[in-house]
């Protein structure tokens, strides 16, 4: 009996080689996790956004090269003199995939739902905080009014999606709508199917109002382990995925691999950091924080465990944006200098126990890391070793996400390492204004009158050069104060199957919609 099974299995295995492969005009992409929902308002995970961008469209989009806002569903717009009113004029030829025309009412509906407290989207609502209202002037005109002038007003209103009001209104609870599993939008792709735990499939929208994409079908497969995903890629079950640094450097270099795939590396706005809780007596003095930064050998870490993929950053703006001041040099790794600073601020080993202390407090603290991140693990042990050499005792506490989040919420931490993903335009208000220290994202508790001023002024400055000047000053202050030890901006490392042509790397990354398929391509 056992032999029969084995024979059957191997017979099947040969035959099934075919089953796993997919037709050439499909694009199969890997997602690390499964989206919770495909509702653009309530979804909070990173996985759904890439899918949703193909289905739902907002009024404006950003040009991938010039980074300027340009028309999408809105053909044109007018901004009032005082900057408080923006009127969008929508295209008249847009339809949802069920045939219904898309109108300004649909956009207004989205706005209304965002502001509706019963809808599960507090993070979105935050962005629209300063919007006074949105009014439909006629079927294709919608006007947003702001309470105060804000340089991001156009962007925020412009990103309001166009939702199928006629379908959502048929259901009682927006949060539980069946459209969350079967979305219907106006975009270049329409939803085809979602097999729980396995994949989501999109089909080309043949009636799309704009440039139709060339790729007929897009599959998103959920594969949680990076190692398994790479294996699937090598088996040609995947066409597109992101790589980790180690995979990029060590596991994707064989000639056979290089014939079939291309690797692209590009930067997106992000940075990671170590955050010091300024409320704690240990980290109150900025010289101490500076000393801590001087004990992190960023260059070495980048060169070794990050394989040189990334850049050391010194401030809160995206390193490739005009707001980043490249003249500011990072504090170099300098244990001797750090020791001096610590002595200067009164932290020395007074009681002979090998650990620095001051006023009876020992320089001992807890460093929080989240259990999902290998890099955080590595970083924390490196830092621990360095600090031990200068008489500082650091304990590493690794927590799973829920508990980790809770402690940060409650500001119950000494130091933590995390990262931020930024937009093209950033307004530092959320992260750095003193009012956000207890309630917002400024959980390290950074407060300074000067930066508060800069932030508020920045919000009202519509002129790019003006903002650049303000942000550079902001950068300088943060560099001096070191509320974070800014670490690195990490690039996206992407691998793409070679049968796809017109794969261009823009400033904002890749745009799958412009890719074409070379049907004549073969691996030899």
């Amino acid at each position: 009996m056992a032999t029969i099974t084995v024979v059957a299995v191997s017979f099947g295995a040969c035959h099934l080689e075919q089953v796993g492969r997919h037709p050439t005009d499909w694009l199969v992409e890997r997602l690390r996790g499964e989206p919770d929902t495909l509702n653009p308002l309530t979804s909070t995970d990173a996985y759904s956004s890439s899918i949703l961008d193909n289905i739902y469209e907002p009024l404006l989009q950003r040009n991938r090269d010039t980074l300027e806002l340009e028309p999408l569903l809105a053909e044109s717009w007018d901004i009032s003199e005082d900057g408080l009113t923006i009127t969008f004029h929508m295209r008249k030829d847009v339809r949802f995939t069920d045939g219904t025309p898309a109108t300004a009412h649909d956009v207004e509906y989205a706005y209304r739902k965002i502001m509706d407290t019963k809808v599960d989207c507090p993070h979105q609502r935050n962005y629209y905080r300063d919007v006074k209202d949105a009014k439909v002037l006629d079927d294709h005109t919608i006007r947003f009014t702001y309470k105060e002038p804000y340089f991001r007003a156009l962007e925020i209103c412009g990103y309001t999606p166009c939702l199928p009001r006629h379908l959502f209104e048929q259901e009682e609870d927006f949060n539980k709508s069946r459209l969350n599993r079967e979305p219907i939008g106006t975009g270049p792709y329409k939803f085809s199917e979602w097999i729980t735990g396995r994949k989501i499939v999109l089909e080309k929208n043949e009636d799309y109002w704009g440039d139709k994409p060339k790729i007929k079908r897009r599959l998103y497969k959920f594969i949680n382990l990076d190692s398994t995903a790479l294996i699937e890629l090598k088996k040609r079950h995947l066409d597109l995925m992101g790589l980790r640094a180690l995979q990029w450097v060590k596991q994707t270099n064989k000639p056979r691999f290089k014939r079939a795939f291309r690797k692209e590396k590009y930067y997106t706005p992000n940075y990671n950091y170590i955050g010091w809780n300024i409320r704690r007596p240990l980290f109150k003095d900025k010289r101490v924080r500076r000393a801590m930064t001087m004990l992190v050998d960023r260059e070495k870490i980048l060169k070794t465990i990050l394989f040189g993929l990334g850049e050391v950053v010194t401030g809160p703006a995206y390193v490739n944006s005009p707001y980043y001041d490249h003249d500011i040099n990072p504090w170099t790794y300098d244990p001797a200098g750090a020791k001096k600073l610590l002595e200067e601020t009164g932290w020395a080993d007074h009681d002979g126990d090998g650990i620095r202390d001051k006023d009876g407090i020992s320089f001992k603290f807890e460093f929080l890391i989240s259990s999902g991140s290998t890099f955080a693990d590595q970083l924390s042990t490196v830092l621990q070793g360095e600090l031990a050499k200068v008489g500082i005792r650091m304990e590493v506490r690794r927590l799973e996400w829920a508990t980790f989040l809770k402690l940060i919420e409650e500001r119950d931490f000494d130091a933590v390492t995390l990262g931020w993903s930024l937009g093209v335009e950033t307004d530092p208000f959320q992260l750095w204004h003193s009012t956000q220290a207890d309630q917002g994202s400024n959980f390290v508790g950074f407060e300074s009158e000067e930066t508060d001023d800069i932030i508020v002024k920045n919000r009202r400055t519509f002129d790019l050069d003006g903002r650049i000047e303000l942000m550079k000053r902001f950068h300088a202050i943060l560099h001096d104060e070191q509320p974070y030890t800014f670490l690195f901006c990490s690039p996206s490392l992407v691998v793409i199957h070679n049968r796809f042509d017109n794969v261009l790397v823009h400033k904002l990354g890749l745009d799958v919609r412009e890719w074409t398929i070379n049907r004549a391509w073969s691996e030899e």
Binding site: V9, L16, V19, P122, R125, K406, S441
Partner: protein, 335 residues
Amino acid sequence: MGSYVLKRLLLIFPTLFGITIITFIVIHLTPGDPAELKAKAGELGAKNPLTKEMIEETRKLYGLDKPLHVQYGIWIKRLVTLDLGDSFKDSRPVLDKIREAAPITILLNVISIFLIYLIAVPIGVLSAIKRRTFVDNLLTVVLFVLYSLPGFWVAQVLITYLAGGDYLDIFPAYGLHSDGVGAYGRWTWLADSTWHLVLPVFCLTYGGLAYLSRMERVGMLEVIRQDYIRTARAKGLSESVVILKHAFRNSLIPILTLMAGLLPALLGGSVIIEQIFNIRGMGWMTFEAILNRDYPVIMGVFTLSALLTLFGLLMSDLMYAFVDPRISFEESEGG
């Protein structure tokens, strides 16, 4: 005996009650609030008034604003109508989620248990017959070595070297079906599923071989020494017949009683194997539920699993006592 069974069945209720209360308390003590988790997922650290209000709304929605004992009471009331509530994560009924995930785990475990018995029992018999010889020693070492290899280790090694990528490409790397297998016939589907099951089942099976075969070995050794075996021999039957017929049958008794105890494993699933092979079974679901503080799912799964365990324990005790009349029912409860 009937009264004993009845007594045990009735006792299941207080035990179950105890379990549900303890689970309830433990999950509420664990730091992390599901409502906050959902709200926060979009924006780390944001806690402005709008968000606070939203969290309150969510808590109301989940019933988390009520005092603990009331929450528990509501849950028990629902339980009586076999309604396990809705998951916090995606608002789907817990029962539906279990119905989706359970068959996968059950399938994996049933096949695995079957294979363990199939392989371990003959090995145990062989080991007993050839006690202290080279064969016995070799088998012992091999089995113990297999037991000592951590599951995730073996799984990763197998996937890397046998499932494609840079080395051999014999098996699929994850999941239970190939994509697009629906287009083919039923036989292809069967072969495809079997093909996908080989690695995960292997990982679940190899560790259990040691334990069961040792039990079988001890059981055989015990029985071979019995007086009535000597008697059978005196009657002049050939030795192999003696061994096979009498000893084997009797040695199976404790083994079979063990099977009832394996009932809970059917629902438990293996978190690690399911993670590595991307199989969305009960283990995976429960693990995610704990990480997300998805209380209804946690309560539902733990309760169901406890029920099965209690039932399995009862069955196992009954079989044990039934089969060996020398043991009273009380004693069997330790066995």
